[in-house]
Symmetry: C2
Subunit: 305 residues, 2 copies
């Protein structure tokens, strides 16, 4: 039920009202818009929606540190792209190398080991790695209003999911602690796995081969595969989330899709169309046509981190 206590980090503006009203309608027993708990699926993008993605998605910093670590064991890495650019902090060159180079970076830093060993590497890194600008651990670069929203949805019977272009195993490392989202409710980009049976022990080895790049239309397809149910609620922040939001809004009955606009240079970073790694353009231009509610970080949040 909407009340003055919910979502304290959200200002009393139209965005907050839209959320509170929507949740009240779908949870009202006997109401015409009531949705049983089983249907209360909420999907959130991660980078830029639940935690910051500037100056780069945090997973890139992990990949860069891992290149530095791996290059200690394999000095030839420093002579090969895309690793040379990483080691020289030459990010313009790196992101100009194209998609295949970024995949090679991802595979070199995320594959060739078991999922359980990767988990150790990623959680060890997250325990101490700090954001270059915000003077805090990366894992503390989560948005407080969103943590409140996730908890509020769960209190109202929603099952909260991450559906992100980020690597699924990387996100699973911190999703429970950071967001209260269990590993199995994280959907992300993934590599193929190999069943390894050595000394009578089975493990899963991450292969240098893309299984799914969980962005744009693929987000909707992966929701179909993993959840098998159209979301009732979706939250994103870029054109990469538009397909998920439109899939959500195309369902019958009440649906809510929200788009976070990073317009707060003072407290975070103001950006949209020009962010080449994950631009926000069509989703912003067409939000009204598509029935998407735009959330302004500056206007709608009274605190960011």
């Amino acid at each position: 039920m909407p009340d003055g206590q919910s979502l304290p980090s959200w200002n009393d503006s139209a965005a907050k009202s839209a959320i509170l009203d929507f949740v009240a309608r779908v949870t009202k027993q006997g109401g015409t818009e009531f949705v049983p708990p089983a249907g209360r699926i909420a999907t959130f993008d991660n980078d830029g929606t639940l935690w910051c993605e500037q100056p780069l998605q945090i997973q890139f910093f992990f990949a860069f540190d891992r290149v530095r670590q791996l290059s200690g064991k394999d000095p030839t890495m420093s002579e090969r792209q895309p690793f040379k650019a990483v080691l020289e902090h030459d990010y313009n060159t790196l992101f100009g190398l194209g998609k295949q180079a970024l995949l090679e970076l991802a595979f070199a830093t995320h594959a060739g080991i078991t999922d359980e060993d990767f988990e150790q590497a990623a959680s060890g890194w997250l325990a101490t790695a700090r954001h270059p600008k915000f003077d805090r651990l990366f894992k503390e670069c989560t948005y407080r209003p969103q943590l409140e929203l996730l908890a509020y949805l769960r209190e109202n019977g929603f099952k909260t999911y991450i559906v992100s272009g980020g690597g699924v195993d990387f996100m699973r490392t911190f999703a429970e602690e950071a967001y209260g989202i269990p590993r199995e409710q994280v959907i992300g980009s993934s590599v193929k796995l190999r069943f390894d049976l050595t000394d009578n022990r089975v493990s899963l080895v991450k292969l240098p081969e893309l299984n799914s790049f969980d962005d744009r239309e693929v987000k909707a397809l992966n929701i179909g595969l993993h959840i098998g149910r159209r979301p009732l609620f979706a939250f994103g922040n870029s054109d990469g989330d538009l397909a998920m939001m439109r899939y959500t809004k195309s369902g019958s009955g009440p649906r809510l899709a929200l788009l976070l606009h990073h317009d707060d240079a003072a407290r975070e970073v103001a950006y949209d169309r020009e962010f080449r790694l994950s631009p926000l353009s069509e989703a912003l231009d067409k939000a009204q046509d598509y029935g998407i509610t735009v959330v302004s970080m500056k206007r709608d949040w009274n605190v960011v981190f």
Copy 2:
């Protein structure tokens, strides 16, 4: 906590004790083998483990009826294999046609429509279709001891999953009602999906192209992809479940893997090695070596359906 009330359809034999003891150990607060609820993942095969799979997996009956229905609109189907064999009830020919023919049967009956339209077709069929031998609806061919076990595990903080070679969308149609397992906790074989945007409405279309055949090693790989955590508990009934059971047993700490042996010709069907669609052979021969507990339907269950 183990008590005289749990699992009433299970006889007081070694199998039941193994289950009760295992659950008591992993749920004992402060015990050396305690596992937090987040780690209590239980995975069950479906066909032959949760419901009967004789004389054929139930999904074949759905596919056959759907061929009969579709052939009314497309008379040329009766001239083409594998549909000709289906329409002539010539199952020896059908299963001799090979894997590609069975895939074509699956695609013709499970693809070319949206996941939501397929849901309607499957649930409509399940509402009335009856098992040819057991004088009951197919959806009532579930095993009562297993329904008790699923509920018992959930009462003890386990999250119960289906991990089956059956089609994921078919199983999602009845898993909640039959087993209390929500759609998103069903992992199965799947076709690829296509993002369809028509008249401003998004839907997901099932394509005649295999995404994943969820059997044998692939079961473990799909657990890695969908759940991202090694199960604590696994239950199967054929060699197709062996990889999942060994993956489960390879984890650290206590793990339980169970294998249902259909040895009860009086109450169900006695079969193992000779069932060509899903044989039980290696898993039975090696159960002791692999630490797998064999459950005898005849000895360990006092009721079947």
